[in-house]
Amino acid sequence: MKFSIVIYAAPYSTESAASALRFAESLIQQGHELYRLFFFGDGVHNASKLTVVAQDEINLQLQWSKLIEEHDIDSVICVSSALRRGVLDQTEADRHGLGAASAYESSEVAGLGQLVDASLHSDRVVNFG
């Protein structure tokens, strides 16, 4: 089946982002398709690449990025949520003169149209917040 996943929660502060990651890994492992990840609201912090995590703890942002790259997943950070939270790709960082990108390149900054598209083209949309 085709799944899309919407993530509303920042990593670490609640378990939701970690649950979403385990869910995403599991559905891929079972041979389902992950049509799109959509990071919304505080969820955009999951795409931040400037993180430093202790060696004995899980680095959720890095885990997301690895999963996205390994399986070539379409991953979207909602632009209106991301800009005000300082999660920028290189294009947005350049446009606003803010230097380097703070988001992993594995995700793309885009609008809510991508969520509507995911709703239309997925068999299941699962929300984690």
Partner: protein, 96 residues
């Protein structure tokens, strides 16, 4: 058009009560994260209709030491089965 309802907050959140007001008879409920605390007290579960299947995420119960206290009404499942349940139901309604 049956739905899988997920609940990820503790009983204090009253999410289960809310969900039960609008649930359909052939729907199912999955407790995950802090939602698994619903499963250790019979009074939390007593209002769920017989027809509604009740699941709880094993990983979250293991972390919280609630697996052995979990009532018979509840089926412990892993994340792989969670994915399967999403396929078996036509949509997923997340209460958070």
């Amino acid at each position: 058009m049956s739905s899988l309802h997920t609940i990820n907050r503790s009983p204090d959140s009253k999410l289960l009560e809310r969900c039960l007001k609008v649930i359909n008879a052939d729907d199912a409920i999955l407790f995950l994260e802090d939602g698994v605390y619903h499963c250790i007290l019979p009074t939390n579960l007593s209002a769920i209709a017989e027809t509604v299947k009740v699941y709880s995420l094993r990983e979250d119960m293991l972390a919280r030491a609630t697996l052995s206290k979990t009532k018979d009404r509840v089926e412990a499942i892993d994340t792989a089965r969670f994915v399967g349940l999403c396929c078996e139901h036509e949509k997923v309604v997340s209460w958070f």
